[in-house]
Amino acid sequence: MESKLIDIRLDNMRRLFSEPVANLKRVIDVAAVGSVTDQLHRKLSTLKQMTAKVAMHLDSTWRAILFQALERLLDPEDWDRDFAMPSEQSFSTFLRMIIFLHPTKRPGLGLSPSGHFLAAWRSGEDRIVVECLASDEVRWVLSRTIDGDRESGAGKVQIHRIPDVTEPYDPEPLFTNGDKILA
């Protein structure tokens, strides 16, 4: 009886580190198996489950829009076979970035041929595009017209540095949208 109790306790402790509490940052890209359609469906399911880990920090409307965007991006009917499968590591960086930056404007979502998620925020002709790599790393490029002159900047940084490296370009109009709450 006592050993059974110990087994139960050990099992409960192990479950503490089971799937529901797995670290979003430590995801790995799952190798491609099966037809392209099957792979895309599985990836989509995985990306939605990844979102569930942080969904309490996302606006519910935006979560629904995000899922619609993912469904379009991973639609087998539209899939470019030269593209690499979407990367879970990149998506993890994307989610962590969205929650960290707390933009009040929804980004446009895309996918690069190498499977990296792309996010774009606009204000008129001004734009910032962020390519989400693995391990919280992003490539960013920003272009703005200030006093009639076009300025641009680009770089590769960790998520937490995005506000600092973009600050010289006054990026707030790109990320904010009145009182709407994104996350």
């Binding site: 593209f83 895309g110 041929p113 792309l118 272009s143």
Partner: protein, 144 residues
């Protein structure tokens, strides 16, 4: 055979996969991501088509370009085409010390064009192309 460089006044059209199109909240195409102009591993030049190879109005030319592109790759309604003026594109790349050669190189696509001497290492150049020099983006469905 002499190398056929496209005139600066003419236009090149690049096929854009749906994943690289930027859309607004109403799902309307408003541009493309800079990564649409990134060379993929092993690629030595950017692929495009010569718009003025075909005759007619812009609409007619685009339809023919879409059909021609469709001979070498799959073109779906939600894909896009980005158009840019040859001279403007060359000028944009020149600001990054790149002297482009935009050459007509027909294959199964009679309007096929290679954008050579092009490097896509600089994200700012890709963004310049996507947002200004090569930024007239339309959805393919209107031309299929």
């Amino acid at each position: 055979m002499a190398t056929k460089y496209l005139p600066d006044a003419d236009h090149v059209v690049r096929h854009i996969s749906s994943q690289l199109l930027e859309r607004d909240g109403d799902d309307q195409v408003i541009g493309c991501f800079p990564q649409a102009f990134e060379l993929r591993p092993g690629e030595k030049y950017l692929s495009a088509s010569w718009l003025e190879f075909f005759d007619g109005t812009r609409q007619e030319r685009l339809k023919q370009t879409a059909a021609a592109c469709g001979k070498v790759r799959e073109v779906r309604p939600r894909h896009g085409f980005a158009m840019g003026n040859v001279g403007v594109i060359k000028e944009a790349c020149a600001t990054f010390n790149q002297k482009l050669r935009i050459i007509h190189e027909p294959n199964e696509n009679p309007a096929y064009t290679a954008v050579r001497s092009y490097k896509s290492d600089e994200l700012e150049l890709l963004e310049l192309l996507a947002s200004e020099a090569w930024s007239d983006v339309v959805e393919a469905k209107a031309y299929l």
